[in-house]
Amino acid sequence: MLQSLKNTARLTLKELRAIRADKVMLVLIFYVFTVATYMVADAISTEINDLAVAVVDEDQSPLSQHLTDAIRAPMFKTPDSLTPDQAEAALKVGGYVLVVSFPPEMERDLRAGRATTIKIDADTTAIAQAGNGATFLQQLLAAELSAWAAPSGANTTSLVSVVFRNLFNPNLTSKWFTSVMELMNSITILTLILAGASLIREREHGTIEHVLVMPVRPHEIVLSKIAANGAVILAASVFSLVVVVEWIIGVPIGGSLWLFVLGTAVYVVAVAALGLMLASFTHTMGQFGLLIIPVIIVMILLSGGMTPMESMPDWLQTLMKLISPAPHFVAFAQGVLYRGAGASVLAPEIGAMAAMAGVALTVVVARFRKVLS
């Protein structure tokens, strides 16, 4: 047992040296966990934020000017003013998600009590923004119009006022969410490739024979690969979480940091085991590369981190929860970071990830001899 641990530790050091030798790889790891995490968190949000809006103002009255001024940050970018033809062309090339058109004589008609119609065109190819964006823009314009019609401050349109209270993320800052999801994506990309490649490399270089004639057992080799690659990724992710996510981006980490590190460690092991398992089914780096890219994309996009898990068809939800540790990690991360949930609430998610790691490791060790011959 002690001998086995010693062997594993030595092999782990060997793996770490192999990682250290590849400079391009080190630069990329650093880039992913710092620059990329920051940039994505800063730029990506499915919440209504900075939507590109254009205004077609055929009224040119104080009222239309007032309504245009009301369309502003944080929900919308400062609207551009366009002619009807320009607006149509811009919608076509995707320059704007929403275009508001004020009809000619709008203010005069309203003052005279005549009905008028304000048009909002929404480009629904921007599926995540068009619906909510149009809803909020309508609310905004309706509120401004009723305030304009009844300046006494009496809001005639609403009989019930509503206060929105968001638990766990009071301002619906999607940065919180995106930065943690981006961290998970980085872990997924790097761990799958690093772990899988460490096996393929041995095969392609023929160094596996050297390892095989040494008095070490397959499981020691496999564990050492996971330990080395996992340690590098975990260290980088904790650094990224504390420095980039918490300190630079300013996400308040709600729950226990140690609990989060524990869950992340389990996730890293599960993904590393998965990477080794996939590598054991391929013979060359070329095959592995072609196999791993689709796996990465499916894991990232169907994790519940990019789009709501509940929106997927049931069969796909079930499938992803069975074969991918990512949905469990997303649920876990949301629980710890936002809801401050404790270990007992999150045990099922950690358990699911651990079980996947176990299955994948069993397959790898079983296939090991066969793979190397």
């Binding site: 992913v32 909002i120 209270r165 766990f168 590369g289 072609l290 992803m320 609430v345």
Partner: protein, 355 residues
């Protein structure tokens, strides 16, 4: 190319990706778990609650008894939206005062929270209209806000997502194939053959690139057929224009793979570099989730520095916005520019002589 396993992956990978991602990325928010916390228990408060339970996208669960219970259920992830009606709300409505109700939303998934808020606002507006009509104070509003949903009226996620998914697949798979193609020669030493023959660098690179372009074109045909057949995405534009654009695009993406391969020494780092360099901008900054027009400057520029964002505009346009040849001009020119740039850079970096 003599490797049947790789050939299989090169064609099956895109198809499997398309099916899983096409079904999986969806922004249809429904079955939001919803509960009422009614402290008023009057006929009016129940009517207000009914407005919410009638929302098709809300799935009603057992009523909430206390704020602590509400928080506990949200903490466990079992409740997304809750409506809290304070005591006396019904009486205030009778007196013509404006009661204040609270809508509690689990904010840990901002997109869901915001959509839920949109639904709730709609329900409240309807409720106000109903009450106004009953009390006879209804004056038809002089302003109609007419919203027209263009290009994808049914709000089908698949229609909006599939062109972007094609964009994603046709950068990742071609880039990784061609990157490995060149690095493998370096790693296994067969590059010596090229170094010892009078083949020019451009010829060498193009010769390696053409088979991958052909394969990727096949993949595009398969993806297009899937989009039409399985996902029933309408195609309103010019097929010729989209095909031409896709061919240019795979020239650029295989070129990107080759460029990456010229500065990596091992196949591992090549796969790695392709994954990192291409996945992050294409997933995040090329219009897959957020339209490029609504990104902040840094993100937008990152997106536009890759061919993906340009192809996405053209693909989306030919599918849903009736684009013809004239409409894809800018995209095509930009993508062709990328293809030429990648090839030129790869030629410049690839050393004819042993370093």
């Amino acid at each position: 190319m003599r490797d049947p396993i790789r050939l299989f992956f090169a064609l099956a990978g895109p198809i499997i990706l398309m099916i899983t991602v096409g079904y999986g990325i969806s922004f249809d928010v429904d079955e939001l778990s919803f509960a009422v916390f009614d402290q008023d228990q009057t006929p009016e408060s129940r009517r207000l609650a009914e407005q919410f339970t009638a929302i098709a996208q809300f799935a009603e669960t057992a009523p909430v008894e206390s704020l602590d219970a509400l928080e506990a259920r949200m903490k466990a992830g079992a409740l997304t939206v809750a409506l809290e009606i304070p005591e006396g709300a019904g009486r205030m409505l009778h007196q013509g005062k404006v009661p204040e109700v609270s809508l509690w939303v689990d904010g840990s998934m901002p997109f869901r929270a915001e959509t839920a808020r949109g639904y709730a606002l709609g329900a409240l507006t309807r409720f106000a209209a109903i009450l106004a009509e009953e009390s006879g104070t209804a004056t038809p509003s002089p302003v109609t806000l007419e919203t027209r949903f263009r290009f994808n009226q049914a709000f089908r996620s698949a229609n909006a997502m599939l062109p972007s998914v094609i964009m994603l697949i046709l950068i990742l798979i071609p880039a990784v194939m061609s990157a490995i193609g060149v690095v493998r020669e370096v790693e296994t030493g067969t590059i010596a053959n090229f170094r010892s023959t009078p083949v020019r660098r451009v010829e060498f690179l193009l010769g390696k690139q053409i088979p991958y372009i052909a394969l990727s074109a096949l993949a595009f045909a398969a993806l297009f057929a899937l989009g039409q057949g399985l996902f029933q995405v309408p195609f309103t534009g010019s097929l010729g224009a989209l095909t031409a654009l896709a061919l240019l695009y795979v020239c650029a993406t295989t070129g990107l793979g080759q460029l990456i391969s010229t500065f990596t020494k091992t196949q591992v780092s090549a796969v790695f570099a392709v994954a990192v360099i291409s996945i992050i901008p294409t997933v995040n900054f090329s219009g897959l989730i957020v339209p490029v027009s609504s990104l902040e400057t840094a993100g937008r520029l990152t997106g536009l520095a890759f061919p993906g964002a340009w192809f996405q505009t053209g693909a989306l346009g030919t599918f849903l916005k009736g684009f013809g040849w004239a409409d894809i001009g800018t995209s095509a020119a930009a993508i062709a520019g990328f293809a030429a740039l990648y090839l030129a850079a790869a030629v410049a970096i690839l050393r004819k002589q042993e370093p």
